[in-house]
C-alpha cells in the first residue's frame, strides 16, 4: 500500500484516519496506556509514539490482521474464553501486546521479574503480569489479563 501522508502523522493516526483500520485505539497518545499497541515486523510497539513515515516498507500487523470473527487468532479466542474484556477499548492493544510479549519470551528477552537472567523465562503468571504492565484497563478486567 502506498499513500502520501504528512510526515508528522503518527503511525496510529495513519492506521485509523488514513487507512481506515480503527481497531487500534488511541487512549493516552503518549505511550503510557498501550491501547495503540501494534506489531511491527513481529515486535510490539506503541503506534502513537512513532511516525508512519518512519515505517515505510515495514510489515505492520494490527488487530484486524490477526483474525476474523469466523477465524479467531488463538490469542483472540483465549480472551473470549477467559472473559478478558468488558468495554473492549483496551482489548486490541492487549491482544497485540500479549502476542508480542510471548514472542519476546521465545527470544529470551528478560523482564523486571526474571530471577535468573541466564535461564529462559517461562511465561508464568508473574512474568506475564509484568510484561503486560504497559497495557492499562479501566474496566477492571485487568486481573484476568495475566
Amino acid at each position: 500500500m502506498a499513500l502520501n501522508v504528512d510526515p508528522r502523522t503518527t503511525l496510529l493516526d495513519f492506521l485509523r484516519d488514513h487507512v481506515g483500520l480503527t481497531g487500534t485505539k488511541k487512549g493516552c497518545d503518549h505511550g503510557q496506556c498501550g491501547a495503540c499497541t501494534v506489531l511491527v515486523d513481529g515486535v510490539r510497539i506503541n503506534a502513537c509514539l512513532t511516525l508512519a513515515v518512519m515505517h515505510a516498507g515495514d510489515r505492520v500487523t494490527t488487530i484486524e490482521g490477526l483474525g476474523t470473527p469466523a477465524s479467531l487468532h488463538p490469542m483472540q479466542a483465549a480472551f473470549v474464553k477467559h472473559d478478558r474484556f468488558q468495554c473492549g477499548y483496551c482489548t486490541p492493544g492487549q491482544i497485540c501486546s500479549a502476542i508480542g510479549a510471548l514472542v519476546e519470551v521465545e527470544r529470551n528477552v528478560p523482564s523486571h521479574v526474571t530471577d535468573d537472567l541466564q535461564v529462559f523465562a517461562r511465561p508464568m503468571r508473574l512474568e506475564m503480569r509484568e510484561r503486560m504492565s504497559g497495557n492499562t484497563c479501566r474496566c477492571g478486567a485487568l486481573r484476568k489479563h495475566s
Binding site: 504528512d6 510526515p7 508528522r8 503518527t10 493516526d13 497518545d29 503518549h30 505511550g31 498501550g34 499497541t37 515486535v43 510490539r44 510497539i45 506503541n46 502513537c48 509514539l49 512513532t50 511516525l51 513515515v53 518512519m54 501486546s97 508480542g100 510479549a101 519476546e104 527470544r107 529470551n108 528477552v109 528478560p110 523482564s111 523486571h112 526474571t114 537472567l117 541466564q118 510484561r131 503486560m132 504492565s133 504497559g134 497495557n135
Partner: protein
C-alpha cells in the same frame, strides 16, 4: 524559528506538531541546523513534540545508519551501536552475563512496547540535553563502549 508554509502548525484534536521536513540519513550528517532534531525510535522526542516542548523544523531519522549491532572489542569489552534497541540490549547474551546491571536497569523502566522501540542513544540524543547537533551525532555514532578489565568493569560513553 523560521517558518515556511510547510512548517505551519498541524492540528489534530489537541495535538500540534510543528515540523515540516523529515529526512532519513544513510551516511554522515554535515553542517548544523539549530532547529533540527535527530530521531531514533521517537519515544521521547515525539512525546515532547505533542506537548510542544520540542518543535523542530526538521526531523532527521537515523535508523538507516549502520549502528544497530553489538560487537566485541579486542580488549574484552563491548561496543554497543547507538541504534540498538533497549530490548535487544537488555537481552544480549554478553550483557546479561557480564553486565547484568545494564539488563536490570533497562527492564526496570518503561514498558515492553517502549523498550522495543527506544534506542540506546536516546539518553544522548534526547532533546532535554542541550548539545549542538554535530556533537550529538558524534556521540550517537560511537554509541556506548563497555570495557571489561578482568575482575572489574568500567563503563563510559566514548
Amino acid at each position: 524559528m523560521t517558518r515556511s508554509p510547510k512548517s505551519a502548525e498541524y492540528a489534530h484534536e489537541d495535538v500540534h506538531l510543528r515540523t515540516g521536513r523529515y529526512s532519513r540519513r544513510r551516511d554522515s550528517v554535515n553542517g548544523q541546523e539549530p532547529d533540527a532534531r535527530f530521531i531514533g525510535g521517537g519515544t521521547n522526542l515525539l512525546d515532547l513534540m505533542k506537548l510542544q516542548i520540542e518543535a523542530p523544523s526538521h526531523l532527521i531519522d537515523l535508523q538507516d545508519l549502520k549502528l544497530g549491532s553489538i560487537s566485541a572489542l579486542d580488549s574484552g569489552g563491548l561496543r554497543i551501536g547507538a541504534l540498538v534497541s533497549n530490548t535487544d540490549l537488555a537481552s544480549h547474551e554478553r550483557i546479561r552475563r557480564d553486565y547484568s546491571l545494564v539488563t536490570r536497569a533497562i527492564v526496570a523502566g518503561a514498558s515492553g512496547q517502549l523498550r522495543a522501540d527506544r534506542v540506546t542513544a536516546w539518553r544522548i540524543v534526547r532533546p532535554s540535553i542541550a548539545l549542538p547537533p554535530r556533537r550529538v551525532l558524534w556521540l550517537a555514532t560511537w554509541g556506548v563502549t563497555l570495557r571489561c578489565r578482568q575482575a572489574s568493569t568500567k563503563s563510559r560513553v566514548s
